[in-house]
C-alpha cells in the first residue's frame, strides 16, 4: 500500500490505542474495561502487522501474531475468569473520581508529548511521530495502578502500562529482538497468572479484593 495510506492507518491505530487507554479510565464497569483492553491488544497487533508490511519484516508478523494471541485473547480471558470468580461488585472503585481522572489523563498525555520530543527528534518518521501515544499509555496505566482500588483493576493498569511499552517498542524500534520480545511476553503472562492466584488467595484471606484491606504490614 502507499506510504500515505499506511501513515494514516498508523495514526488512526495509534490514536485508537490512546483512546482505548483513556476509556479504561472513564469506564467503571470492569467487564467493559477488560473488553477495551482486548480491543487495545488487537490494535497493537494491527500496529505490528502494519509495520511489518511496511518493512517487509517477517519477524514482525510473528510478533504481531504473538501479541494478538497474548494481549487480545489469553490475558483478557484470564481477567474475565478472575472477574467471574469474584462474585463481588463488578465496578472499579476509584480513589480519584472519574472526572479528575480524565483531567489527569489529559495532563499526562500532554506531558507525554512534551517528553517524547527528543525521541521523535532522533529519527523523525511516521512511526516515531506517534511515539507520544506509547508513552502516554504507559503513564495512564501507571495512573490507573495508583488510583484504582480493586486488585483486578491494578492488574489491568499493569497491562495497560505494558501495552504502552509494547506500543512504544513497535513504534520506535519496530520491535526489539524476537527473543527478548518473547521473554517479555512470557514474563507478562506469568506475572498476570501469579497475580490471579494471589488475588484468589486474597479473596480467601480477606473476603474481598479491595486493596484497602491490604494495610496490615506497616510501621
Amino acid at each position: 500500500m502507499s506510504a500515505a495510506v499506511s501513515t494514516q492507518l498508523l495514526d488512526v491505530i495509534s490514536g485508537a490505542i490512546l483512546l482505548t487507554a483513556v476509556l479504561t479510565l472513564w469506564r467503571r464497569d470492569l467487564a467493559a474495561i477488560i473488553r477495551l483492553l482486548a480491543i487495545q491488544g488487537v490494535l497493537i497487533a494491527g500496529l505490528a502487522l502494519l509495520l511489518g508490511i511496511n518493512e517487509h519484516n517477517t519477524e514482525l508478523y510473528l510478533a504481531a501474531l504473538g501479541v494478538l494471541i497474548l494481549k487480545a485473547i489469553v490475558l483478557p480471558t484470564i481477567l474475565r475468569r478472575v472477574l467471574a470468580d469474584s462474585g463481588e461488585v463488578r465496578e472499579t472503585a476509584p480513589l480519584v473520581n472519574v472526572t479528575s481522572s480524565l483531567l489527569a489523563a489529559a495532563g499526562l498525555t500532554l506531558l507525554a508529548y512534551v517528553l517524547s520530543g527528543p525521541l521523535v527528534a532522533l529519527a523523525p518518521s511516521a512511526a516515531t511521530r506517534a511515539l507520544p501515544v506509547g508513552i502516554a499509555v504507559v503513564l495512564l496505566g501507571f495512573f490507573m495502578l495508583v488510583t484504582r482500588r480493586r486488585a483486578l483493576s491494578q492488574v489491568i493498569g499493569f497491562l495497560l502500562l505494558d501495552n504502552g511499552i509494547t506500543t512504544t517498542a513497535f513504534l520506535a524500534t519496530s520491535g526489539v529482538p524476537l527473543v527478548v520480545e518473547l521473554g517479555v511476553s512470557l514474563d507478562v503472562l506469568l506475572v498476570v497468572l501469579v497475580l490471579q492466584i494471589v488475588a484468589a488467595r486474597m479473596r480467601m484471606a480477606f473476603g474481598s479484593t479491595d486493596l484497602d484491606g491490604l494495610s496490615g504490614l506497616r510501621d
Binding site: G117, L139, L145, V146, R149, D212, L214, S215, R218
Partner: protein, 683 residues
C-alpha cells in the same frame, strides 16, 4: 630487627595466640593465663615504646592486610611515649586481673567469662596499635577495633545490672559519633592531600586551604575529644567507667582516654603542623570547661568509680589546656613557651595514667572486698585492707596534685608555662591577656577542688569507722591484685621524685611536632626540674627529701622533749552521747555539703527528704531519710532534647510506610513524573 619490631610482634602475636588459648582453656585457669597474656602484651608495648622514644624512625607495611587499603605502621617518639603509657598500664592491669577476675568461693565472677578474658588482651593490643598506625585506613581500623573490644568489656556484667546495658549504649553511641567525625575529617584530609599515608598527609597539609585545614581540625577535635572525654562529649565516661570491670576501667580511663589526646596531637600538631591561634584558644577553652566541670562533679560524687571517671575528665581537661595554650603561643611565635606547655600536657598524660591506674584498681579492690562503690556506705577500710589503703593513698596524693605526689609535678610545669606568658615591659596580646589568667584561675580552682575531692575519697572511704557491715567485714585483696596496684604505685613514686627521667624522651617527642621542634624544655633537668627558655626550677626530689628530713628531725626532738610513752587508747567524745556509732560520722554527701552549697547554682542538686512520724503523733519523728542526686547538668541540657527530636522524627516517619499499596505506587509515579519533567526541562 629493632626493638620496635620485637615489641609489636609480641603485642600482635601474644594477643591473638593468647585470646585463642584463653577461649579454649577451662575456667579456673583463665584468670592466670589472661592476666599473664595481657601483661605480656603490655611488655611488648613498653618495649616498642622504648624503641620509639630512642628516636629512630621505624616504618613497616604489612602485606596482604586490609582490603582496598594497606596496613602501614610507623613508630616515632610521639608514638613511643603513648606505647609506653598504654603498655605500662596494661602490665599493672594484667597482673591485677589475675586476682580480680578469679571466682569468689561462692558466686562466679562475670569478669571470668570466656569472652571477657579473651577480649582483654585484644583490647590492649588494639590500643597499642593506635599510636603505631601510619595511614588513615590503618588508624581507623585499629581505632574501631579498640572501640569494639572495649564495648564488649564494658558489657561484661550485663546480667547483673540494667545500668550496664545503658552504659554500653551510651558508650557505643558516643564513640561511634566520634568515629564519624574522625572519619569524615581524615578522609577529607586525605582526599585534599592526595594520599592517605601520614607522609602524604604531612606533605599535602601545607597545600590545603585554610578553611579546609580548620574543618579537618575541628572534626578531629570533636572525634578525639569524644574519646578523651572532653566536655560536652564526656557523658559516656561516668557511665561506662563505673560499670566496667575495674581492671578494664583502669585500662579505659588511664590508657584509652590518653589515646584521644594522642590523636589530637598527632593530627593537629604533627600532620596538620599546627594552625591559627583560634585553634589553640578553642582547645584551651574546651579544656578549661572540662577541667572545671569534671572536678566539680567529682567533688560532689559519692560513687567512688563515678568520682574517678569525672576526675578523668578533669585531668584530660588539664592536658587540653596545656595543648591549647601551646597552640596559642606557637601561633604567636613563642616556641619556647609552647614547648614547655606541650611537655606539660604529655607529662600530665603520663602522671594521670599512673595515678588513675592505682585509683581505679584500688576502687576495684574495694568493690571486690565489699561489693560497694558508694562512699556513703564505706569507711574503716584502713584496718581491714591496710596495703590497698596505702596504695590508694599514693594515688590520691598524686591526683590531688600535692607534693610529693606526681600530679603536682606536671601541674607545676603547666603553671610555669602559663605564668611566663607575659614578661616585664612586653605588652601581651589582649586575647592572651584575657585567656591565660582565666586558664590559671581554672587550673588553680581545679587544684583546690581536686584536693577536696580526694580528701573525701580517701578520708571518707578508707578512714574513720565502717558505715556498713559489708565495709566492716572487708578482707584484703589477694596477692596479684596488690602486686598490680604496687607496680602502678611504684611508677607514681618514680614520676613524682624523678620526673627528669622522662625529660629527655619528652624533648624527643616534641621534635616530632614542627611548631615546638628543638625547644627541648626539659633538656637540662636532673635532680632539679629546670625549664629551658623560661626561668623556672623546682626539685621534687629535694622537696621530698627535705620533708622527710624535717619529719625525722621533728620526731627526734619531740621524743627528746616528751619521751615516747605509748598513747593511751580512750573512747572518743561522742558529743555527750553514750557511745559513738558510725551513724554520727560524716558521709561523703555531708562532707561535700558545703561545696555543694557553694556551687549550688552550677550543680543544682536534687534533694528529697521524707519524714516518717510515729503513728501516735505527727510531731514525733520516727525516721528521716535524705537523698541527694547531683545530675550532670550539661548532659541534661544537651542530650535529652536531641534524642527527643530524633524520636519524634522517627515516629513521624512511620506514616511514610502506612501499608497502603496505592501510596507506595504513588511514590513511584510521582518520582517518575518529577524525574521526567526535570529531564524535559533541563534538556
Amino acid at each position: 630487627m629493632t626493638l620496635v619490631d620485637v615489641g609489636l610482634a609480641l603485642v600482635a602475636g601474644g594477643a591473638l595466640a593468647g585470646a585463642l588459648v584463653i577461649a579454649l582453656i577451662p575456667r579456673h585457669v583463665r584468670p592466670l593465663i589472661s592476666g599473664l597474656v595481657t601483661a605480656g602484651v603490655g611488655v611488648g608495648g613498653v618495649l616498642a615504646g622504648v624503641g620509639g622514644l630512642s628516636g629512630a624512625a621505624w616504618t613497616r607495611v604489612a602485606p596482604g592486610l586490609l582490603p582496598l587499603g594497606e596496613a602501614r605502621l610507623s613508630v616515632d617518639a610521639l608514638s613511643g611515649v603513648f606505647l609506653l603509657l598504654v603498655g605500662a598500664v596494661a602490665i599493672a592491669a594484667g597482673i591485677y586481673g589475675i586476682g580480680y577476675t578469679a571466682d569468689a568461693p561462692h558466686h562466679e565472677n562475670p569478669a571470668g567469662s570466656r569472652t571477657t578474658q579473651a577480649t582483654v588482651p585484644l583490647f590492649v593490643a588494639s590500643m597499642l596499635f593506635v599510636p603505631a598506625a601510619a595511614s588513615v585506613t590503618t588508624l581507623l581500623v585499629v581505632w574501631e577495633l579498640m572501640a569494639l573490644t572495649s564495648l564488649v568489656l564494658v558489657l561484661t556484667e550485663h546480667r547483673l545490672r540494667p545500668s550496664v546495658r545503658d552504659a554500653g549504649l551510651w558508650y557505643g553511641g558516643m564513640t561511634h559519633a566520634g568515629l564519624v567525625a574522625i572519619m569524615t575529617g581524615l578522609v577529607v584530609f586525605a582526599a585534599d592531600a592526595g594520599g592517605e599515608t601520614f607522609e602524604a598527609l604531612r606533605a599535602g597539609a601545607a597545600d590545603l586551604s585554610p578553611a579546609m585545614r580548620s574543618t579537618v581540625f575541628v572534626l578531629v577535635l570533636i572525634g578525639f575529644g569524644a574519646k578523651a572525654g572532653l566536655v560536652p562529649l564526656h557523658v559516656w565516661l561516668p557511665r561506662a567507667h563505673p560499670e566496667a570491670p575495674s581492671h578494664v576501667s583502669a585500662l579505659m580511663s588511664a590508657a584509652m582516654v590518653a589515646l584521644g589526646i594522642y590523636g589530637l596531637i598527632r593530627v593537629g600538631f604533627d600532620l596538620l603542623g599546627g594552625g591559627p591561634r583560634w585553634w589553640g584558644l578553642l582547645v584551651l577553652t574546651i579544656g578549661a570547661v572540662s577541667a572545671l566541670f569534671g572536678v566539680l562533679q567529682a567533688s560532689v560524687a559519692t560513687d567512688l568509680k563515678r568520682l574517678l571517671a569525672y576526675s578523668t575528665t578533669e585531668n584530660v581537661g588539664l592536658m587540653a589546656i596545656g595543648i591549647g595554650a601551646a597552640g596559642v603561643f606557637a601561633a604567636d611565635g613563642n616556641r619556647a613557651l609552647a614547648g614547655v606547655l606541650m611537655a606539660a600536657a604529655l607529662l600530665h598524660a603520663l602522671n594521670h595514667a599512673a595515678f588513675k591506674t592505682v585509683l581505679f584498681l584500688g576502687a576495684g579492690s574495694v568493690l571486690r572486698a565489699t561489693g560497694l562503690r558508694d562512699l556513703d556506705a564505706l569507711g574503716g577500710l584502713v584496718r581491714r585492707m591496710p596495703l590497698t589503703t596505702a596504695l590508694f593513698g599514693i594515688g590520691a596524693l598524686g591526683a590531688a596534685a600535692l607534693p610529693p605526689g606526681n600530679g603536682f609535678v606536671s601541674e607545676w610545669v603547666l603553671l610555669q608555662g602559663l605564668i611566663h606568658s607575659v614578661s616585664e615591659g612586653v605588652a601581651a596580646s589582649p586575647v592572651v591577656a584575657v585567656s591565660i589568667p582565666v586558664a590559671v584561675g581554672v587550673v588553680a580552682l581545679t587544684a583546690g577542688l581536686g584536693v577536696a575531692t580526694f580528701v573525701k575519697a580517701f578520708g571518707v572511704g578508707f578512714l574513720a569507722q565502717p558505715r556498713s557491715t559489708a565495709a566492716a567485714t572487708a578482707i584484703e585483696s589477694p596477692m596479684p591484685m596488690r602486686v598490680g596496684m604496687g607496680v602502678a604505685a611504684a611508677s607514681c613514686a618514680v614520676l613524682a621524685v624523678a620526673p627528669a627521667l622522662v625529660g629527655g624522651s619528652l624533648d624527643r617527642v616534641l621534635n616530632v611536632l614542627p611548631e615546638v621542634r628543638d625547644t627541648a624544655p626539659l633538656a637540662d633537668s636532673a635532680v632539679t626540674l629546670r625549664l629551658a627558655g623560661i626561668q623556672g626550677s623546682m626539685s621534687p626530689l629535694l622537696i621530698t627529701v627535705g620533708l622527710v628530713l624535717s619529719a625525722v628531725l621533728v620526731a627526734v626532738v619531740v621524743r627528746r622533749l616528751a619521751g615516747s610513752a605509748p598513747r593511751r587508747v580512750v573512747g572518743v567524745w561522742a558529743n555527750g552521747g553514750p557511745e559513738r556509732n558510725s551513724r554520727q560520722e560524716l558521709t561523703a554527701t555531708s562532707f561535700a555539703e558545703p561545696l555543694t552549697r557553694v556551687f549550688d547554682d552550677v550543680l543544682r542538686p536534687e534533694h528529697d527528704i521524707d519524714v516518717t512520724p510515729y503513728a501516735e503523733s505527727a510531731y514525733l519523728i520516727e525516721s528521716v531519710t535524705f537523698r541527694q542526686r547531683v545530675p550532670d547538668r550539661l548532659e541534661a541540657a544537651m542530650y535529652p532534647p536531641l534524642l527527643a527530636t530524633v524520636e519524634s522524627w522517627g515516629r513521624w516517619s512511620r506514616r511514610l510506610a502506612n501499608g497502603r499499596v496505592h501510596r507506595y505506587l504513588a511514590y513511584g509515579f510521582i518520582g517518575l513524573l518529577v524525574a521526567l519533567i526535570v529531564v524535559a526541562v533541563t534538556s
